[in-house]
Symmetry: D2
Subunit: 221 residues, 4 copies
Amino acid sequence: MDVRVAVAYHSGYGKTESLARAVARGAASVDGAAVELLDVTQLDADGWAALDAADAIIFGSPTYFGSLSADMKRFLESTVDRWVDGPRWKDKLAAGFTNSKTMSGDKLNTLFDLAAFAAQHAMIWVGLDLYPGWHTADPTQSNVRTLPAGAPMMTDGDSDGSTDLNRLGSWFGAMSQANSDESADATPPSSDLATGEHLGRRVAEMAVVFSRGREALAAVA
Amino acid sequence: MDVRVAVAYHSGYGKTESLARAVARGAASVDGAAVELLDVTQLDADGWAALDAADAIIFGSPTYFGSLSADMKRFLESTVDRWVDGPRWKDKLAAGFTNSKTMSGDKLNTLFDLAAFAAQHAMIWVGLDLYPGWHTADPTQSNVRTLPAGAPMMTDGDSDGSTDLNRLGSWFGAMSQANSDESADATPPSSDLATGEHLGRRVAEMAVVFSRGREALAAVA
Amino acid sequence: MDVRVAVAYHSGYGKTESLARAVARGAASVDGAAVELLDVTQLDADGWAALDAADAIIFGSPTYFGSLSADMKRFLESTVDRWVDGPRWKDKLAAGFTNSKTMSGDKLNTLFDLAAFAAQHAMIWVGLDLYPGWHTADPTQSNVRTLPAGAPMMTDGDSDGSTDLNRLGSWFGAMSQANSDESADATPPSSDLATGEHLGRRVAEMAVVFSRGREALAAVA
Amino acid sequence: MDVRVAVAYHSGYGKTESLARAVARGAASVDGAAVELLDVTQLDADGWAALDAADAIIFGSPTYFGSLSADMKRFLESTVDRWVDGPRWKDKLAAGFTNSKTMSGDKLNTLFDLAAFAAQHAMIWVGLDLYPGWHTADPTQSNVRTLPAGAPMMTDGDSDGSTDLNRLGSWFGAMSQANSDESADATPPSSDLATGEHLGRRVAEMAVVFSRGREALAAVA
C-alpha cells in the first residue's frame, strides 16, 4: 500500500544535501510513504533498485555557473538504459530542487534542466503549491489572503523572510539560498528547508493520489 | 464520472488551431473524457466556467520570436483572479503545445513559458511519452527497439519523418512545424497532428488516473 | 560620434519603469551616449525611428506568471517588419532587465524570452559584469576579493543587501525586486536601481567599443 | 593584429566534433583570425592558455537528455578560478553550438545553459545572423526575400533542407542534427556544418570589430 519516494541529489558542500534531507523529511511525513535518500555520486545496486521501484523521484542539484552540476548530469546520463528499452521510468512523478549562494542565481535554469530530463523519461512534473513569500515591507501584511478553508498555500511573513515559505519565489521546484561564509550547519535558512519539506510532502501526497487511481483502474480492468 | 479536459489555444493563422483540434480529438478519444476546445481570444463566461471545471488544461500557442504569443500571454495574465484568491486551478493537470514554421524554431522556450505559468498555478505538468522520430537515414531502422508489450512509446519511421510520431523530438510538450507557403489545410503534416493527438490522449488518461485516485481517497476519508 | 542607446520597456505599475529610468541614467552617464527612454505601449514614429537608429536597445519587462508581459510581447511582435526584409536590427547590441515582487520569481525566464527575441534579430547580447551580492552572513566579508586594479566587478555588502550591486544574483540581465505593498516611489530598492544603472552604463560602453571598431574598419576599407 | 578564436567542445561520438571543426573552419576563414580547436576533455596548459588569450570562445556540446553534457559541464565548472579572481574572461565574445539526433531535441536548452555560463563570466553572446531555412513546401520559394544588397542573411532552399543554412531554425547558436544510424563521416549533413561554419565566421568577424574598437579607444586614452 506504500508509495515510494526517492530523493536523488548531488551536493558539493553539504548545502544541497541539507535541502535534500528536508525534502526527504517532508515526503516521509506522509502516511504510507517510504522514502529513500540517495547521493547520486554513491549509487549502488540497491540505490538503482530504489529508483526503479519509486513512484516519485525528486531530483536535486546545486546550481553551478547557471545550470545543474556535472556530477548530477553524469547521473542523469547514466539513466540511459532505463530510457532506451522502456522507458522504465514512464509515468513516475518527478520534482526538483536546487541551492546556490545567491537569491536568484539562475537557479530556475537548473530546474528547467531537471524538468527537461524528466520529460524525456515521460515522467510527470510536480512543482510547489505555495504562494511566494518575502515580498512586503510590512511583515504583518505578508501573504494575507482570502484562502479557502484548509488551503495549503499560505505563508507567514516577516521582514527578512526568515519564516516565509517559498522565500525566494519559485514554483517549478524548491530553491534555497545558502550564505557563502557559513557552513551547511547554519545555512540555507529554516524557511528554505521548510519549503523543501513542503515540496517533499506534496510530491508524496500526489504519489498517493496517483497510486490509488491506478489501483482503482486496475481493479475494474 | 467524466473527466473534463480543456484545450485553451491561440492561433494566428490557423496552424496552431489545427494542432489544437488534433489535441482535442486525442483527449476526446478517451472513454469518459469530455473535451472543450477554447480559443483564448474569444473566451466568454462559459469558456471560463469550462476552464474552472476542467481536470486538465492543455495550453497551446504559436511560437513568435522565440516565445509564446502576446495573445496567449494576455489570456494567461487574465487568469490572475483564479490565482490570487485560491489558487483555484491547483492540482489540475497541465500540458502544452506549440507550432512554428521551422523545425526547432525556439519552440522549447514557448513550452517553458507555458510550464512556468502552470507551475505558478500549482498545476501538474504532463509531457509526451513518445520516443523521438525521424532520426535515421534508413527508414526501416527508425525506432526499432525492444519495447515491453503494449508500450505506447513507439514510432514508425520513414525517411522524411512523415509518419513518425514525435517527428521533431520534443517531450516537454507537442511541437508541430508548418510550412510557411502552405495554408492550415495542408500543414502542419499529419505526423505532427498525430503527435498532438497522442498528447491529448495521454493527458486525458492521466486525468482519469488522478480523478480516480481522488475519488478513492475521498471514499475512505 | 555619439552612440545611441534606446531603453524600450513596459511597466504595469511603475516599478519596471523605475528600473528603466535607472538603466537609462546609467547609459546616459557614458561620454558621447545619447539615450532614448521609450514606453513600448506608447510608441510613435519618432520612437520607432529612435529604435531603428540605436546602436544598442535595452529591453525591459515585468515578469508576470513566469515570462515577459503581454504588452511587451505585443511590441516585440510588432518589430516583424524590421526583421522580415532586413534584418534591420542586425548587429545592434541588446540587453534586458525585469522586475517582479519576489527574489527569484522566474525572472530568468523573462530574460531568456528577451534574449531569444534579440537573437532572432541577430542582435548581440550584453549581460551584467557584476559579481553577485548579498550572499554572506557577515556583511564585512561580502564580496571581498582580489580584483585587478580598476576592475568594475565589485560590490559592497551589508547584511540585508541594501547596498549590494547585483543583490539578486543575475548575469543574463538586470533583475529588481519590488515589494508588493509599496509604491514605485519606494521600491525596488536603491541597490537594484544601481544594478540597472550599471547595466545601462555597460551597454553604452560596449556600444562605443563596437562603434569605434566599425569606424576603424570602414576607414581602411 | 590577429584576433584569437577558441572553439571549446565536447563530443561523445564524433558528431559534435564534426560541427566543431566546421565552426573552426568558419572562424579561420576570416582574415587575421587565429583559431584553436580544443577538446575540453583533453585540455592541457597550452589549451588553457589559448582560452585565456582568446578574444572569443565558442562553446559546443552534445545535447544529452535535454541539457549540456556532463563532460562539458565538468569543463565549465573547472573555469571557476578564471572567474573568482577576475573575472579574467570578462568581455570576451562567446557563442555556442550543439548537436543531437533529432530535429528540435531540446537543443535550445543546451544553448541556454552555455549562454547562462558565459553571462556569469561577463562574456558577450553572439548568435546566428541567418534567416531560418527549410520551411516551405515549394523549394523554389524558400527564403525568397527582398534583401538589401550584400545582406549576409540568406539561404537557398530545397525541399529536404539539404542545402539550407540554418536548416533547423535556431538563432541563439548553431544546431545540427545527426542521424542515429550513421557515423560522424556521414552526418550531420553539410547544411548543418555550413551553418556552423557561418557561426564561426560571424564570431571571428565580430571579434575583429570589437578588437579594433578597443585599439581605437586605447590610442586616444
